[in-house]
Symmetry: C2
Subunit: 323 residues, 2 copies
């Protein structure tokens, strides 16, 4: 099988979404996309490497799903409506079972968000997956990391640390008395993160700054601070931890996982105190917990505060390549 | 050095082009791009893998240059005006000299075309370079592979086989009597291909089909035939071969290199007979040879014809991954 029939079999033929914006998709020198008037293009790209971003032995369904999910999470953090994606796939060998699983995972998420796979490139080499996702946002409405204002409150969606705990479970590094239900839940948070696309769109015109938590809250809240030139005080007791996380963490230092574990793909955002009730109504509307965990301060840096007022001392930050 | 300072040092800080279309570039969750009214987005992506697309020992300047050039060549084949690019860079280790060279090559071409590096991703793993390039074209003006009409003539820009001959030289597989000038020329066609961006734009509204020759004329002209549902008869004696190529090929079967060698990144296009004089004036205007080499036929498939009318018999086609 050459790369043209590979692309046809596993990708082009599975493209369900016939977006009217895709004037020309897979199969020419480039894709052609029409732009909705009054909108800006929002585009994100992420690479997944075997044994860095995922264990190389993992079910390829999860790889295909996650490669797109992490990019949709970036679009969500900007408030954009996803529209199409590109795939750069480097494979060490032709493997029908692997390609079937990978494209199952990829297209599950493409189809859920009605995205068109508009193009890409496939070649041979050590396994490497690059996905570029693009979407649209009304002009000048995008959320960024740079708008947090002193006195704003900070929210976090969902729960922190579940994906990192899921990785511990995957590595058989957690006490065995965890229920099957908790185990499945934590593994699914690792393998199938949920890009918070609807939340991001609700936050447009409401949040002052937003980021997705891919490297852990400590590192990613730090990016909001740096780019907004403010600080953050985060209440440790208010951090949202799932029941499954608490069950799994009883013998471990769970706080580090929740703050620096990464891979949660929740949104961290700031807004004015006046918007808090609106945020709470959005939480009910989309059935997603949104926890108020901190406040924006003039003093720069992120400080995590225990209930008694003691500041958390930690050396850890998020995952760093070339660290 | 972590990946954030790496991105700042070698990429973000070197971004000269302050395109007004880039509302938000490197440094947030995603880039934001404004769309020129009445235009469509044209987007191409290609991956380069060490020891597949380039020898791993090659000067990294060439890798950075070529990773972008091959994508600009795809945009050229659509007739688009390039505007911005994304970089997915997977590196096995931090290497200042390599990164300096790579970014020198990349930014030489970004700056030449006034492109903005709008975003990307950097991580650790086996060397793998994905570049996505995007540009704009007035709505409904893009060139595609599918419009060739029976009776059209076919042109090829520049010269064929120079890059493949350059690779032979790089591998010390060519007779040594070649002049330094010819050697330099052929190596530069391998390492620094010229995306035919100006030509592509001139061809809008004139050419009926267009493709860039990345896998060799035989394979790429074949794509025009398949997607236009026509055939091509190509005159072997009219194929444009450079003086340097002819000097280097005297003891070798030069024709295969010219037809299947790949990596030339010239444009192959069709147009009606009435447009030939216009094509010739474009050739003078942009100082680029445009050779009339064939005609579009009703009988499908690509046939290469010797002067006496004999049809070339060959088993070879273009380079195929997973072939």
């Amino acid at each position: 099988m050459n790369e043209f029939s590979l692309i046809d079999t596993y990708f082009k033929s599975r493209n369900k979404s016939k977006s009217s914006q895709i004037k020309l998709g897979i199969g020419d020198d480039a894709a052609i996309v029409s732009c909705p008037p009054g909108h800006e293009l929002v585009v994100a790209t992420d690479t997944l490497v075997a044994d860095v971003h995922f264990p190389s032995t993992i079910d390829p369904v999860y790889i295909g799903y996650k490669a797109l999910a992490v990019n949709l999470s970036d679009l969500a953090a900007m408030g954009a409506q996803p529209s199409w994606a590109l795939l750069n796939l480097t494979l060490s060998e032709f493997d029908d079972a692997w390609l079937n699983g990978f494209s199952d995972g990829l297209f599950e998420l493409l189809d859920e968000f009605e995205l068109n796979l508009a193009g890409g490139d496939t070649c041979r080499g050590p396994l490497n997956i690059g996905v570029t996702a693009a979407g649209w946002i009304p002009a000048n409405q995008a959320l960024t990391r740079s708008g947090a204002q002193i006195g704003d409150v900070m929210f976090v969606s969902g729960y922190l640390g579940d994906a990192a705990m899921g990785l511990r479970i995957y590595r058989n590094d957690v006490a065995s008395e965890l229920s099957a239900e908790d185990t499945d839940y934590l593994l699914s948070r690792l393998h199938r993160p949920t890009p918070r696309v609807a939340l991001g769109q609700y936050l447009c015109g409401l949040a002052t700054a937003c980021i997705d938590i891919s490297d852990g809250l400590m590192a990613d809240a730090g990016h909001i601070c740096e780019q907004s030139n403010v600080g953050l005080e985060v209440s440790i007791d208010d951090l949202p931890l799932s029941i499954a996380f608490k069950s799994a963490s009883k013998d471990l230092d769970d706080l580090d996982l929740a703050l620096t574990g990464g891979d949660d793909y929740e949104l961290c955002f700031t807004c004015s105190e006046e918007q808090v009730s609106l945020v709470e109504s959005i939480s009910r509307e989309i059935d997603l917990p949104l926890a108020k965990v901190g406040t924006v301060t003039e003093r720069t840096g992120v400080r995590f505060i225990h209930a008694g007022g003691k500041i958390l001392e930690t050396e850890k930050t998020g995952y760093k390549h070339f660290g």
